[in-house]
C-alpha cells in the first residue's frame, strides 16, 4: 500500500470513530494546533465532563481540586521539544506539564503524545504507555492529541507484529504497557446510545506529520 493510500485509509477509519484528523508540517505546528485547541475550549471543569451535573459530595470535591488555569500534559518529550512547546503554552497562559499527573486526577484539558506507530486499517494510534504519566495524561484529559509520524504508519496490525513485540518485550528485562487507541473513550451501555468520554478523553485528535520528505 502506498503512503497516500494508507494516509487516506487511516483518516477515513479514524474519522469513522469520531477522531479529528489533521495534517501538520512540523512538530511546532502540532504544538500550535494544541495550544489553539486548548485556548478555544472551555477550561476542563466547564466542559461537559460531569462537574456541572448534580454529584455526590465526594465527586463534587474532586471537581474543586482542579486549578483554574488550563492544563496540557505532554509527558515523555525530548527536553528541547518540551521547552519549545512550553514557550507557546506560556504565551497563552496555559500550564504545560510533563509529569506528576497523579496530582491532576480531577482532570486536565489536553494530553499530548507522539505515537510510536499508527495502523491504517483500524485508524488506531499505537502508544508505548509504559510511563505512568503518559498513561494518565491520555486518560484523565478531556482531549487527547496524538501526533503520528507518517513514517510509522502501517497498513495492518499484523504488518506491525515484530515492532509491537519489540515494544512489549523490551529485551525481556523491563515491563511494558502498550496501547492501541482508536477514537475517544466511548460507551453504549445505556440503551445502546453512543456517548463519548465515559472515563477517558471526550475527543481524540490525530495530527499526521510528514516527517520524511
Amino acid at each position: 500500500m502506498q503512503l497516500n493510500e494508507m494516509t487516506d485509509l487511516f483518516r477515513q477509519k479514524a474519522e469513522l470513530v469520531s477522531a479529528k484528523v489533521s495534517e501538520v508540517a512540523s512538530l511546532k505546528e502540532a504544538y500550535e494546533y494544541t495550544v489553539d485547541l486548548c485556548e478555544k475550549k472551555e477550561a476542563c471543569q466547564l466542559l461537559v465532563s460531569g462537574c456541572e451535573e448534580n454529584l455526590s459530595p465526594k465527586a463534587e470535591a474532586l471537581c474543586e481540586t482542579k486549578p483554574t488555569a488550563r492544563i496540557i500534559a505532554a509527558p515523555g518529550m525530548r527536553k528541547n521539544n518540551f521547552s519549545e512547546f512550553k514557550k507557546l503554552a506560556d504565551e497563552r497562559g496555559i500550564m504545560l506539564i510533563e509529569s506528576g499527573l497523579r496530582k491532576h486526577l480531577g482532570g486536565i484539558d489536553i494530553g499530548f503524545t507522539i505515537a510510536d506507530y499508527a495502523v491504517a486499517e483500524t485508524g488506531s494510534v499505537v502508544l508505548d504507555s509504559s510511563s505512568e504519566d503518559l498513561r494518565l495524561a491520555t486518560m484523565v484529559s478531556e482531549i487527547h492529541v496524538a501526533v503520528v509520524r507518517k513514517s510509522t504508519l502501517r497498513a495492518t496490525t499484523n504488518a506491525l507484529e515484530a515492532e509491537l513485540k519489540a515494544l512489549m518485550v523490551k529485551d525481556g528485562k523491563a515491563p511494558s504497557y502498550l496501547a492501541f487507541v482508536t477514537g475517544a473513550s466511548r460507551t453504549a451501555d445505556i440503551e445502546r446510545v453512543l456517548a463519548l468520554g465515559v472515563h477517558g478523553p471526550l475527543e481524540l485528535h490525530v495530527l499526521l506529520w510528514e516527517d520524511k520528505k
Binding site: 469513522l16 470513530v17 461537559v48 465532563s49 460531569g50 462537574c51 451535573e53 448534580n54 454529584l55 455526590s56 465527586a59 474532586l62 497523579r102 486526577l105 482532570g107 483500524t122 485508524g123 488506531s124 504507555s129 509504559s130 510511563s131 505512568e132 498513561r135 494518565l136 486518560m139 484523565v140 496490525t157 499484523n158 507484529e161 509491537l164 513485540k165 512489549m168 518485550v169 523490551k170 525481556g172 523491563a174 515491563p175 511494558s176 504497557y177 502498550l178 496501547a179 492501541f180 487507541v181 482508536t182 477514537g183 475517544a184 473513550s185 466511548r186 460507551t187 453504549a188 451501555d189 445505556i190 440503551e191 445502546r192 446510545v193 456517548a195 468520554g197 465515559v198 472515563h199 477517558g200
Partner: protein, 719 residues
C-alpha cells in the same frame, strides 16, 4: 441469575419476561441493527476465512493449555508478576481475597470481567469487608441494582434511560435528568472519585499471550487502563482458555472479535500489559501485580472430544445477538451468568446442572448462533449434547424414551401414524385442520391450527405415480428422502416433485425402508435412539445407485447432511457409507437451480410471492439464494420479507415445550409475511409449513402457504 427449579417454573419466568415491553423493544431494535453493523464492519473481508483462523489458533492453544500456562508464568514472573492457578471458582476468589489482605487493601475497583462474574467475586470480597466498585458503566449500573448482566458485552441492555436516571438520582442523592449524555458524565465524575481512592484494581483479560507473558484487554470505555494504572495493586482474573501461543494469534482474534461483537472495526482501547509496570505510589515504584488463572473445569473440557470446542469462545456475545429466543426473553432468562447459546452450555459446566437443566432446553435449534460465532463453535449441537448428558445423569423422561423406542422400529412407527389417522377422525375439521387439539396439547397451543394426518401417506401413493419419473435413459438417478411429516401429513408436497421432474430425465426412487430422520429424538436428548434411526436410513439407501438424495424437508436435510456423519461416528471414525450418504443429500431448490438448471420458459406463474427461509435450509444446508431463483424462474414476482432468515418458531418439539415463545416468533413471522402484500408465502420445510399455515389459518388470513415444489408444479406449463 437463573433460579428456576424445573421446566414448569422456568416457563413461568419466560412468561413474565415476555411481558417486559421495554426489554422486548430494546432487544428487537438491537436484533435488527446488529446484522447491519456487523456486515458493514466485515465489508471487504472473507468472514469465513477470518473465523476459521480464530478457530485454528484457539484450537492450537486449547490443545496445549498446560504448556502455555507454564510459559506464561515463566515470562510474567521474570518481570515481577505473581502468577496463580486456581482449580475452582472459590479458590480463585480466596487467592484474590488473600492478595487484598496481604496488601492492606480496603477499596477495590474492577473493570469488566465475565470470569469474575463467573466466580461471583464481588460477593466474596464483600464478605471480607472490602468495598468493590465496578467501573464499566453497564456493570456499575447492574451492580448498583444488585442484578446480573443480561448480555456479555452490554450488561445493562435491558434497562431504560429512565431507570438509569432514577438509579443515579438515588446513588448521588441529587435529582438527575433523563439524558443519556448527562448520565454518562455523572458516571464519569462519580467513578473518577472512586479511582482516586482505590487500593486494588481487578481486571479480566481477553488474552494471555504465552510467548511474551502479556495480558491483553480490549475495552471501549478505557476503564481498564485506569483500573490497571491508578491503584497500587493489580489483579487480573483470567480464564485458562484465554491463553494464546503468540501475539499474532491474539491479533488474529482481534480482527474478528470487535466486528462480531458490536460491528466495530476495533475497540477504542486495546491494552497490552507485560510485567509489573511503573506505579508512582507503589513500593519501589512498581505495581504489585498478580495474574490468577481460573480452571473451573476448563482443563478437563480441553480434553473432551466434543466439549473442547466450547473453549474457543471469545465472549463476543454474538450468539445472543442473533438468537430469536434471547431477543424475546432477555439475558436473565437466557442464561445464568453467561448469556446466549454459549450461556446455555457454560451454565452447565461452570455453575450447576440444576441451573442448566430447564435452561438448556430453551434452544429452538435454528442454527443462527452457529453461523455467527466468532470462532465457529457448533453451539446448537453442543447444547443438545449437554442436554443428553443431563438426561443421562438424571434419567430420561418416559415420553422421549418411548418416542425413541418407537422410532427405532419403522413398522411400529408407521403403524402408529396410521392408527392416529383413524383416531383423529372425530376431531378433524374441514380443510385438513384439527378442530380441537388432541388432549396432549394444552390450550397454549391454540395459537396455530395443527394439520391432520393425510388419508393416504405418500408411501402408499408412490406405486401409482412412480412411472412418471422412470425415464428409459435417465440423466440423473435420484432417491427421495421424505421425512415423516411430508410422508404422512403433506404427501402433496412430495407428489408435486413428480410434476416438476416428469420429462426432465430424472429417475426418482423412493426407498420404502426409510423412516424418520431421527432429529426429533436427538432434540429430545435421546442420542442412542437417534443413532439407531440414522443407521436404518443409511442402510435403506443403496448409495451406489444414486447421484443425489433429494429431500424436501429442510430439517431432515440439514440433519442428514451435517449431523449424520457425527451421529454415526463409531470409535472416532465416520463410517464411509454415512459420509457418502450425507454428501449426496440435496435440497429441492438447489437441485432445481444448480443441477437441472431452471428454465423460465417452462413456467407461467403470476402474482407476488414471498419466501420464508427455513433455518435448516439456510444454515443447515447453506441454501439461501436458490429458492429466490426458483420463485423468479417460475414467473412469479419475488417480494422478500423482512427478516426472512429468522426462525418461524416451530423447532419441532420446541414448540411443544415452549409454546409461548413459539407463538411470539410466529406472530412476528406472520406480520412480516403480511407486510409484503404477497398472495403466496413459499417455504421449503414441512415444519415451517405447519407452523406458518396454522398461524395464518387461525388469523383468518388469505395468504397461501406453499412448498417450493408446489409452487413450481402449479406454475409449470402443462404439456
Amino acid at each position: 441469575m437463573q433460579d428456576a427449579k424445573d421446566l414448569k417454573e422456568y416457563r413461568e419466568h419466560i412468561k413474565s419476561a415476555l411481558s417486559n415491553d421495554f426489554q422486548r423493544q430494546a432487544l428487537d431494535k438491537f436484533a435488527k441493527a446488529y446484522p447491519v453493523g456487523r456486515a458493514n464492519a466485515f465489508k471487504g473481508h472473507d468472514v469465513k476465512a477470518l473465523i476459521n483462523e480464530v478457530a485454528r489458533v484457539k484450537d492450537a492453544g486449547i490443545a496445549r493449555l498446560d504448556e502455555l500456562y507454564d510459559e506464561f508464568k515463566r515470562k510474567a514472573e521474570a518481570l515481577g508478576v505473581k502468577v496463580h492457578l486456581a482449580k475452582t471458582a472459590h479458590e480463585a476468589n480466596e487467592i484474590i481475597a488473600r492478595i487484598a489482605q496481604e496488601n492492606g487493601v480496603k477499596k477495590v475497583l474492577k473493570s469488566k470481567s465475565m470470569t469474575a462474574e463467573e466466580t461471583h467475586l464481588n460477593d466474596h470480597l464483600e464478605k471480607y469487608g472490602l468495598e468493590v466498585t465496578e467501573t464499566d458503566l453497564g456493570e456499575w449500573i447492574i451492580q448498583l441494582r444488585k442484578e446480573g448482566p443480561t448480555h456479555m458485552v452490554m450488561p445493562a441492555i435491558h434497562l431504560s434511560r429512565h431507570q438509569v436516571a432514577d438509579l443515579f438520582s438515588a446513588v448521588t442523592g441529587a435529582a438527575q435528568e433523563v439524558d443519556i449524555d448527562k448520565l454518562v458524565k455523572v458516571a464519569r465524575r462519580e467513578l473518577r472519585a472512586k479511582y482516586v481512592e482505590a487500593d486494588m484494581g481487578i481486571s479480566g483479560a481477553n488474552f494471555a499471550v504465552a510467548e511474551t507473558g502479556s495480558i491483553g484487554i480490549i475495552t471501549n470505555e478505557g476503564n481498564a487502563r485506569l483500573v490497571t494504572t491508578l491503584p497500587r495493586v493489580h489483579v487480573a482474573l483470567v480464564g485458562l482458555e484465554k491463553l494464546t501461543t503468540t501475539l499474532d494469534d491474539a491479533l488474529k482474534i482481534i480482527r474478528v472479535l470487535p466486528k462480531n461483537a458490536t460491528g466495530q472495526n476495533i475497540t477504542s482501547y486495546v491494552t497490552w500489559i507485560t510485567g509489573a509496570n511503573e506505579c508512582a505510589t507503589c513500593p519501589d515504584q512498581k505495581k504489585v501485580m498478580h495474574v490468577v488463572f481460573l480452571d473451573n473445569g476448563r482443563s478437563s473440557m480441553a480434553k473432551h472430544e466434543s466439549y473442547k470446542e466450547v473453549l474457543r469462545c471469545v465472549r463476543c456475545g454474538a450468539c445472543a445477538n442473533v438468537c430469536p429466543v434471547y431477543r424475546l426473553v432477555g439475558g436473565h432468562e437466557y442464561g445464568d451468568v453467561y448469556i446466549g447459546a454459549i450461556g446455555l452450555i457454560l451454565t452447565y459446566f461452570f455453575h450447576s446442572k440444576e441451573k442448566a437443566k430447564a435452561l438448556v432446553q430453551n434452544c429452538v435449534n435454528c442454527q443462527a448462533c452457529k453461523e455467527i460465532c466468532a470462532s465457529g463453535i457448533d453451539l446448537p449441537r453442543i447444547i443438545k449434547e449437554v442436554y443428553n448428558d443431563i438426561l443421562n445423569e438424571e434419567g430420561h423422561p418416559a415420553e422421549s424414551k418411548v418416542l425413541g423406542l418407537v422410532l427405532k422400529n419403522r413398522a411400529l412407527f408407521h403403524g402408529l401414524l396410521r392408527t392416529a389417522k383413524l383416531a383423529q377422525k372425530p376431531l378433524k375439521a374441514e380443510q385438513g385442520y384439527l378442530r380441537h387439539l388432541p388432549l396432549i396439547f394444552s390450550k397454549e397451543h391454540n395459537f396455530r391450527a395443527l394439520p391432520a394426518i393425510a388419508d393416504k401417506p405418500f408411501r402408499d401413493r408412490w406405486n401409482e405415480i412412480k412411472h412418471r419419473v422412470s425415464p428409459a435413459n435417465p440423466r440423473y438417478k435420484v432417491a427421495l428422502f421424505s421425512g415423516c411429516v411430508q410422508d404422512f401429513v403433506y404427501p402433496e408436497q412430495l407428489e408435486a416433485v413428480v410434476d416438476i421432474l416428469e420429462g426432465k430425465g430424472v429417475q426418482l426412487d423412493f426407498p420404502m425402508a426409510q423412516t424418520c430422520c431421527g432429529l426429533p429424538v436427538r432434540m429430545m436428548g435421546e442420542f442412542n435412539a437417534a443413532k439407531d434411526v440414522a443407521e436404518l436410513n443409511v442402510n435403506a439407501f443403496d448409495q451406489s445407485k444414486y447421484d443425489y438424495v433429494l429431500t424436501l424437508c429442510a430439517s431432515c436435510g440439514g440433519y442428514l447432511k451435517e449431523m449424520y456423519p457425527r451421529v454415526l461416528t463409531e470409535g472416532g471414525k465416520i463410517p464411509v457409507k454415512a459420509q457418502q450418504f450425507a454428501d449426496k443429500v440435496i435440497s429441492l431448490s438447489e437441485f432445481m437451480a444448480k443441477v437441472l438448471k431452471l428454465d423460465p420458459a417452462e413456467y407461467q406463474g403470476q402474482g407476488k410471492v414471498t419466501f420464508h427461509s427455513p433455518c435448516h435450509l439456510a444454515r443447515g444446508m447453506n441454501v439461501k439464494e436458490e429458492p429466490h431463483e426458483a420463485i423468479r424462474a417460475s414467473g412469479h414476482e419475488f417480494v422478500p420479507m423482512e427478516e426472512e432468515h429468522v426462525c418461524c418458531g416451530f423447532g419441532g418439539t420446541y414448540s411443544m415445550k415452549f409454546p409461548q415463545v413459539s407463538k411470539e416468533l410466529l406472530d412476528k413471522k406472520i406480520a412480516n409475511i403480511e407486510a409484503t402484500g404477497a398472495e403466496v408465502i413459499v417455504t421449503e420445510c414441512p415444519g415451517c409449513t405447519m407452523q406458518i399455515r396454522g398461524g395464518l389459518h387461525n388469523k383468518g388470513s388469505k395468504v397461501q402457504v406453499m412448498h417450493t415444489s408446489e409452487l413450481l408444479a402449479k406454475a409449470r406449463k402443462k404439456k
